[in-house]
């Protein structure tokens, strides 16, 4: 047993203890066990990570035991650690342990806390299995395991129909991606005769120019394999087309959104592309598709994010958009930058989600930003930490231009600028421009969130959640549901938001440290040409030349992201502080555009019309017209009618079947025996 074994299996053990004890042992024991295990894992992860930052170590593989052995297919349970894994370990266990702690406060009043903490720890285990996989099948195990945990946690409040629907949607949409992943594994196994990742990556470069049959056509081998695998990544990382589950996943408790649907699980697709980067490098077509899908998602999700009013949905679309950044970074070959953004994003996005959770907690479960306003004095810690998160995601910092020797800024400044600059340096001007435009939109919607929530005057009184809270205080239990949307009441309504307990504030403050400093402190290891080469040590296809080129882009390219950020801030400030009537006027002036964005480009409606409804209709048709109307009608029922024509009654006939059956068997056997006796 080495450190990595403990690191990975402690959360599993804790999940089992918490899940089996369930309510039998009260809620404190499961909480202590799971949270304790996660902090232990986090400590071990940082030790491993610091080791890689320091002298650098060769990849290690800790075997567990054989999983599947069938002919030349050999699949081992094994834990691989290299620089890429170490980065993921730190991200997963740090965010997960803080989310565990945060949930002590956030889930305080929930009667099902043991189950919640068991699921959280189970998720962490599955995610750790995913990133330590040394073969594609174990990666798929983790992949599906996190999918299961995500499903269980989205539907954690299983009494709510919307939560159940969202949980199923998440699982099923992810399975569409998994179809690609599975076929990709089959194809890879067929071509390379193994599912062992190092072997595949070693062999992949020699497969250039090879062709393969798929669905009756000939294709470039590596292109088709990469695209199939990438389909899996698109599902898990909610990329355009398979993104529809992510916003709905916000039905889950907010700590879940922070951990699974922002910091860790949804980045699994990016991790996969980086892990298999030597494979993707062999296909220009696949790389082009990754870039295109990433850029398209980046733009799409950002535009939708500008119109949403649910605080969690805004952050969810923001996540989707930031994942797009990571993908197009990978697509242009800047894997270091993609992983860097994954790393910094984990901190600031978890921070934003947990901050949003703190706001929701303070506002008595109200999630609609239209009913917020003026909260910065009421919940100052939440305000300042979310402010740090916003400065990080919008990329505030001072670029290294005009004689300034050292770029310095919040986390997102370093990582996002690296992506935008490397898109330019790699010769993808269209991706570069999308990156810049999205930087502007990101800044706009992020500041919009801050302004609507913390600035302006309170608009709490109109919220039904707040009214519930007030009524509960005033009259005890009250089922007053006649809330009035027609009366846009403003003001506090006499409600007093309360700052969250220390269990929730400590994670916020710690994540703030990450959101502020992780970019500046670590950028050398992730993206500097020499240091990066030394740090990654081949665990991703680190492109030293591209990283050099990135530092030598023209001045205006370096400044573009910062100007875009300032532009977004200015528009946000004008629209939501200076002229608060402007957004409504804009929305009514450009109503079709507004509705198009508000309804998320109508993806859900189109999918419902194209897939969900037909599936049920065809199912009913096949059942009624196929099974009953054709097969049974002309099969057994037809036969029965035929026989019944010449028979006294169906009942006698049917009760006679057993004897007929035994009789036929006997006849047959007698015939056989006679034949042998004679022969």
């Amino acid at each position: 047993m080495s450190a990595i074994h403990y690191l990975v299996f402690l959360p599993l053990l804790a999940a089992a203890v918490a899940g089996l004890a369930n309510k039998g042992a009260g809620s404190t024991l499961p909480k202590l066990v799971t949270t304790g295990a996660l902090f232990a894992s986090a400590a071990l992860s940082w030790m491993i990570f610091l080791h890689y930052l320091g002298e650098g170590t060769e990849p290690s593989i800790a075997p567990v035991f054989t999983w599947i052995a069938s002919g030349n297919l050999q699949v081992e349970w094994a834990l691989r650690v290299d620089a890429l894994t170490a980065v993921m370990l730190v991200v997963i266990t740090s965010v997960s342990s803080l989310v565990h702690l945060y949930s002590w406060g956030y889930m305080e009043e929930d009667p099902d806390q043991p189950r919640f903490f068991a699921y959280l720890s189970l998720f962490t285990f599955a995610m750790l299995m995913l990133v330590t996989a040394n073969n594609l099948v174990q990666m798929f195990f983790g992949w599906e395991g996190v999918g299961l945990a995500s499903y269980l946690l989205i539907g954690f409040w299983f009494k709510k129909p919307s939560a159940n629907a969202a949980a199923i949607k998440a699982f099923v949409v992810n399975r569409v991606g998994d179809l690609g992943f599975m076929l990709g594994i089959f194809g890879t196994f067929l071509v390379f005769g193994t599912v062992d990742i190092p072997t595949i990556l070693h062999e992949a470069p020699s497969m250039g120019g090879s062709t393969i049959g798929f669905l009756g056509q000939r294709w470039d081998t590596m292109t088709i394999l990469c695209l199939l695998l990438f389909l899996g990544a698109m599902g898990k990382s909610a990329q355009l087309g398979l993104h529809t589950w992510l916003p709905d996943a916000m039905e889950g408790p907010t700590p879940v959104s922070a951990l699974i649907h922002a910091a860790t699980m949804v980045t699994a697709g990016v991790f996969m592309v980086c892990r298999l980067s030597p494979m993707f490098e062999t296909s220009h077509v696949a790389m082009g598709v990754v870039t295109f899908v990433g850029a398209a998602t980046c733009l799409f999700a950002a535009t939708v994010g500008t119109t949403q009013t649910d605080i969690k949905r805004v952050i969810a679309y923001s996540t989707c958009s930031q994942l797009g950044y990571m993908f197009f970074a990978a697509g242009v070959g800047a894997y270091g930058a993609a992983m860097f953004h994954l790393f910094t994003h984990a901190f600031f996005k978890a921070l934003l989600f947990l901050g949003a959770g703190s706001v929701i907690h303070a506002m008595h479960h109200e999630q609609d930003m239209r009913y917020y306003g003026g909260l910065r004095k009421e919940i100052p810690v939440t305000f300042w930490t979310m402010m740090a998160g916003t400065l990080a995601i919008t990329g505030v910092g001072i670029p290294a231009v005009l004689g300034n020797p050292l770029a310095i800024g919040f986390a997102g400044f370093h990582s996002k600028d690296a992506i935008i600059e490397s898109a330019w340096a790699a010769g993808f001007p269209s991706a570069f421009w999308i990156g810049v435009i999205v930087a502007l939109i990101t800044s706009f919607y992020s500041w919009r969130l801050i302004f609507l929530t913390f600035y302006g005057k309170p608009r709490w009184a109109a919220s039904e959640h707040i009214q519930h809270a007030l009524h509960d205080h005033a009259h005890g239990a009250d089922d007053h549901h006649g809330h009035d949307h027609h009366a846009p009441a403003t003001g506090t309504g006499g409600y007093h938001p309360h700052e969250s307990p220390w269990t929730m504030l400590v994670p916020l403050v710690l994540l703030t440290v990450g959101a502020v400093a992780s970019g500046f402190v670590f950028h050398g290891f992730f993206i500097e040409p020499e240091a990066g080469e030394h740090f990654w040590r081949g665990s991703v296809a680190f492109n030293e030349h591209l990283m050099h080129a990135m530092h030598e882009v023209p001045l205006w390219v370096k400044l573009s992201a910062t100007f875009a950020m300032l532009g977004g801030l200015a528009i946000g400030w004008l629209a939501y502080i200076r002229f608060p009537a402007f957004p409504a006027a804009f929305a009514s002036a450009f109503r079709p555009l507004y509705l198009f964005l508000l309804n998320k480009w109508y993806f859900d409606e189109i999918y419902h019309f194209l897939f969900v409804k037909p599936a049920f209709a065809i199912g009913r048709l096949l059942w009624k017209a196929g099974d009953e109307g054709t097969i049974d009608r002309f099969g057994p029922n037809g036969f029965a009618r035929l026989v019944a024509l010449g028979s006294a009654g169906a009942v006698r006939l049917q009760s006679g079947y057993l004897y007929a059956y035994a009789f036929v068997m006997l006849i047959g056997l007698t015939a056989a025996i006679t034949w042998f006796m004679v022969g």
Binding site: W67, S70, G538, N543, F639
Partner: protein
């Protein structure tokens, strides 16, 4: 006979117990049946433990041979495939008896006897080494099941048992004729000898089709599957467990034991038929499962979809496909059996299989909800559970032959998730609003004893399937070697790459 005739004893124990049952009252019959099935399970474990897995192990072990008359012999013996299927049978049997403990109230002694006879016939089918002996066990196995549905079944049991019977009869008559022909040509009814006999490829096609007629119905493959939903809906819980758990495996076992090794050329020639029907079955029955309002019907349709992966895998002509097919059979036997038990648990409380009558069970039946979730996830093929290993291997094997058919069959992982999670949501999730549902108590100890062992094996098989793959490995290798000469060419045919074409900056990831 040199050694202890353990297979005969495994046949004798339930047979004797069945007779004893008929002469006792209900309470005693239950105990006799439970003890007899447990003894058989213990014998099965011994069988597994003493099964030789060494490098020089014989293919056929525990062989017993007793000439009866003419060419007909009482010949028993098992290989790894048979061993695993016998284990599945003897494992599920005590669980079935326990599941019927309170649910069956009328004619208990006869009911228990019918189950014990089923056990005899199932073990006999898997252990028979004589073609005619196999035929007797194989066909007779349906008679007790027919009775179980017809006597202890639901309201529409007569129609169901009639349909069940009609389908299976037609297939078996044709198969018997083919068997007689084979014995005549090959001059032996010894199955191991027949497995090595090379029939004329032209005749093979006809023989293959004759066997196919019987096995396809048992499987069941589309479009001869419509007896299964009715049979399941009408059968008592334990009847469904055995039907799904073991009887559906007879078809797959038949393909594995007869069609592939005895008619390799015909098998290769007709792969398109098997693959085509399998792909249709996956999509068709999954969509039909999606719209079912009866829990048992839904699971029955899902069985058809799962068994299509078995046929696809078996006819992939490679090790992954065949081992995958076998693993799906074992996994599906456990999981669908467990799902039927789960339905039985709540059926016993509310006496309805209507999905919409339930809802919110997670609140008052948390243990039930947890176990049901595990089996739902296993049915969906989540890695770490038994079904994933089988589905993954089966589809991986199939991919080597046809990418298109594999794509179509793999859609089952999407549709399967949709119908199973939709079922689970309607039964277990949601709020608890109905008064009679609120009154339902959580699992009793007896019910936990039926479900927990299956749950344990489902996880075992998912995490360390080597225990189950190992006994079958040598047999699969032999089978693959036997059919290799006819193995169909795949449609992938990757060509070699040109190392020169690799991108200039690519080497950095690896070389430095």
């Amino acid at each position: 006979m040199e050694h202890f005739p353990i297979l005969s004893i495994m046949l004798a124990v339930p047979a004797v117990a069945a007779i004893l049952c008929l002469y006792t009252n209900a309470a005693t019959a239950r105990w006799i049946a439970l003890i007899a099935t447990l003894v058989d399970f213990a014998l099965g474990c011994w069988l597994w433990a003493s099964f030789d897995l060494g490098p020089h192990a014989a293919q056929w072990q525990f062989v017993e041979f007793q000439p009866v008359f003419g060419r007909f012999a009482y010949a028993l013996g098992i290989d790894g495939f048979a061993l695993m299927l016998i284990m599945l049978s003897v494992f599920l049997m005590p669980i079935c008896i326990l599941a019927s403990w309170e649910a069956i109230e009328k004619r208990v002694p006869e009911y228990m006897a019918a189950f014990l006879v089923t056990e005899v016939l199932m073990i006999g089918t898997f252990a028979a080494q004589d073609l005619l002996l196999f035929y007797v066990f194989f066909e007779a196995g349906l008679i007790p099941m027919y009775l179980i549905i017809g006597i202890w079944g639901g309201a529409n049991r007569i129609y169901a048992s009639y349909k069940f019977f009609l389908y299976t009869l037609l297939g078996s008559v044709v198969m018997l004729i083919a068997m007689l022909y084979m014995i005549g040509v090959a001059g032996t009814s010894d199955i191991p000898k027949l497995m090595a006999y090379d029939f004329d490829p032209h005749v093979q096609t006809w023989l293959w089709l004759a066997f196919f007629a019987s096995f396809a119905v048992k499987m069941p493959m589309w479009p001869v599957h419509t007896w299964l939903p009715d049979a399941h809906v009408q059968a008592p819980t334990a009847g469904s467990v055995i039907l799904a758990g073991v009887l559906l495996k007879l078809g797959g076992y038949g393909f594995l034991r007869f069609s592939l090794p005895m008619f390799p050329e015909a098998s290769a020639q007709l792969v398109w038929l098997i693959f085509g029907l399998s792909a249709v079955a996956v999509i068709y029955t999954s969509l039909v499962a999606l719209v079912q309002s009866d829990m048992k019907k839904l699971i029955a349709y899902s069985s058809v979809a799962h068994m299509a992966i078995v046929t696809g895998g078996l006819f992939a002509f490679n090790q992954q496909g065949i081992e995958g097919g076998m693993m799906v059979m074992l996994g599906h036997g456990l999981v669908s059996g467990a799902l039927f038990l789960c339905v039985g648990v709540i059926y016993d409380r509310l006496h309805t299989r209507e999905i919409d009558r339930y809802g919110g069970l997670a609140i008052n039946m948390p243990r039930y909800a947890a176990l049901f979730m595990l089996f739902t996830m296993a049915s969906v093929g989540l890695p770490g559970t038994s079904n994933f290993v089988g589905e993954f291997l089966g589809l991986a094997g199939m991919y080597k032959v046809s990418t298109t058919m594999t794509l179509l069959c793999t859609t089952g992982i999407i549709l399967g998730a949709a119908y199973m999670l939709y079922l689970y949501r309607r039964v277990v999730f949601g709020d608890l609003t109905k008064d009679d549902v609120k009154a339902m108590p959580d699992l009793s100890l007896r019910e936990i004893l039926t479900l927990a062992p299956i749950a344990a094996v489902v996880l075992w098989m998912g995490v360390y399937p080597e225990s189950f793959l190992k006994p079958m490995r040598a047999d699969t290798e032999r089978l693959v070697a036997r059919i290799e000469r006819a193995s169909p060419k795949g449609d992938s045919l990757p060509t070699a790459g040109h190392p020169a074409a690799k991108p200039a900056h690519e080497a950095h990831g690896e070389a430095h």
